[in-house]
């Protein structure tokens, strides 16, 4: 989780009603709890279990990955641009770490 998430937004100045596409990826090992280390010990499970995207305080989209989601979780979603504001994204893992990213959206 050292590097900040990579975020791509199709446009940060959408027209009203335009569909905005967001692609975001963060670095995370997504340890499933099914793998063993060299000594044969199970590596403790720790996955990103929640991603949320809000425009201002309004929830647009949320994602609950399980252990079948690939390492360095990638998420793509869309929303209809209706008002300007900050697109806030947050990732939470099972070890309690929280990573955030945001983009400013200007509808006009």
């Amino acid at each position: 989780m050292s590097k900040p998430p990579r975020v791509w937004v199709s446009t940060d100045k959408p027209k009203p009603g335009e569909v905005v596409r967001v692609r975001a990826q963060m670095e995370h090992i997504m340890e499933s709890g099914l793998r063993r280390d060299e000594a044969g010990q199970v590596r403790p499970r720790n996955i990103v279990s929640l991603f949320e995207a809000r425009l201002g305080n309004t929830l647009l989209f949320s994602w609950e990955p399980n252990i079948s989601v690939a390492q360095n979780p990638y998420i793509e979603f869309t929303f209809v641009a209706r008002e300007s504001g900050a697109l806030n994204m947050v990732w939470k893992d099972e070890a309690g770490q929280v990573v955030k990213a945001d983009r400013t959206m200007t509808v006009g």
Binding site: L34, E64, S68, V69, P73, F77
Partner: protein, 155 residues
Amino acid sequence: MKRRTLLTAGAVLLLPGVSSAQQAPAALPAELAPDPTAFSKIMADFTRGATPEKEGLALDMSMLADNPSAVPVKVRVTLPITEQDWCEEIIVLAALNPSPLACRLRFTQAAGTAEAAVRVRLSQSQTVYALARMKSGKLLSAQQAVIVAASGCGM
């Protein structure tokens, strides 16, 4: 050796190869065994006994997963998303993974769309399912059989 004998011997030699290619190439470790009970329960909890419609939900993924540790999956509700009826939730299931529920995707009225793409890991060749629930209660489903090929090149 007569020509006919040779042909028969050849057919016998070929057949086991064909059948074993259709089966799983190697036994999975116990940790990676499928969990059909969990799969059925997740499906039942989501549908609550109703039968989902086969149209209205698109599941875009390749039939051949060349990298099973990151298989792109895209889901999209093709029904109109309106102020009155939007998609509340889509779940993605990998039927033969040790933990069949890959993820839950929740959408809102504010989003005005229902489309998402993720990458999943697959333990073996299997069918990936997507189920969607609209605000109206309508259920949608889609599925795609995926062949997992562990490539010998570059691994």
